[in-house]
Amino acid sequence: MNIGLWILTTVLLLLSFIKDKKKTILAGKKAGKKMLKMSVIFFFVMALFSLALAFMPPELLNDYIGQKSGLKGIFIALGFGSISVMPGFIAFPLGATLRAQGVPYYIIGAFTISLMTIGFVTFPLEKKFLGIKVAVIRNFLSLIVTIIAAIIIKMVFGE
């Protein structure tokens, strides 16, 4: 999986460099700036997360969001995803870490998809633009999509 990413990035970077040096350097600068900007919060979240995983009894993780947690696990993950706001560069590494701990893809999916589509925190903003009724309906439908997607991920990965 990593090798694919390395090759793709290298090839695109070379192509870009051949086509336009200035633009490529600008892209590199943008990438560096973004990485620097996220580094502190990234280390912080990773530290917190490894503390939580090390001190939490493994059975707890297993019970709530493990292989056999099923719908209960989906709803727990969905709950966390709906109320939190975090950028992709934090959410997906967290997902990968959970995966390494044996948490199935469908649970990670329930978390990341609800994170993307359901917004408790952004609800006031949504309400302002759409009115309360439409905003509630939209978020409710997003919730249903998340559950459907999680179940399909579960089936496809045979978890």
Binding site: L26, A54, G119, E126
Partner: protein, 180 residues
């Protein structure tokens, strides 16, 4: 603005302080053979190592994307947003959404001013959550391409459907955006 910046700076220092204490805790755990602490350290450094193999590449891809593809070209195509084409272009437009709903709503409102249909606009609001390209690059890098393909092939049709349903329902009701 200035006040806001200094607040941000303060928060950053607290976070850095926390990370410092955390690293000290790990070092002490190794000296004193404290097993939970050692486990924390192991977890932290394995994760970090895994991230370092992925993050720089993902960020370079995002940088290249930002430099080479311009949002404005996509918006130009939205003039003829009748029919299927409109949905296609808002799907692409949603790929460019940065900052999630905070930028999606103002954009949706301005699309409405350009007389895009409510169906297309609500499809866009749904898509804006799920197809953002920088986010998807991270997703593929960390969870793998199969995961992303399944997720997109399930969520895109469903949010298209939701957009059409909400849009046509609201068209009948004579809905307009509240002034944001």
């Amino acid at each position: 603005m200035n006040n806001n910046n200094s607040k941000k700076g303060k928060k950053k220092y607290i976070l850095i302080l926390f990370i410092g204490i955390f690293l000290l805790f790990i070092a002490l755990s190794y000296f004193n053979n404290f097993s939970e602490g050692k486990k924390t350290g192991e977890m932290f450094f394995t994760t970090l190592y895994g991230m370092l193999k992925i993050l720089p590449f993902a960020f370079i891809l995002i940088g290249l994307f930002e430099v080479w593809v311009k949002k404005e070209t996509v918006i130009k195509h939205l003039g003829d947003n009748s029919g299927v084409k409109g949905y296609f272009w808002v799907l692409i437009l949603a790929g460019f959404t940065v900052g999630g709903l905070f930028t999606a709503f103002p954009l949706a409102e301005s699309l409405r001013k350009k007389e895009a249909s409510l169906k297309v606009i609500f499809a866009y609001l749904g898509f804006a959550g799920i197809v953002r390209i920088p986010m998807t690059i991270f997703e593929i890098s960390f969870l793998g391409l199969p995961f992303t393909i399944i997720r997109l092939s399930v969520t895109i049709p469903l949010f298209l459907l939701i957009g059409i349903l909400i849009g046509s329902f609201l068209d009948k009701k004579g809905f307009e955006f509240n002034k944001g």
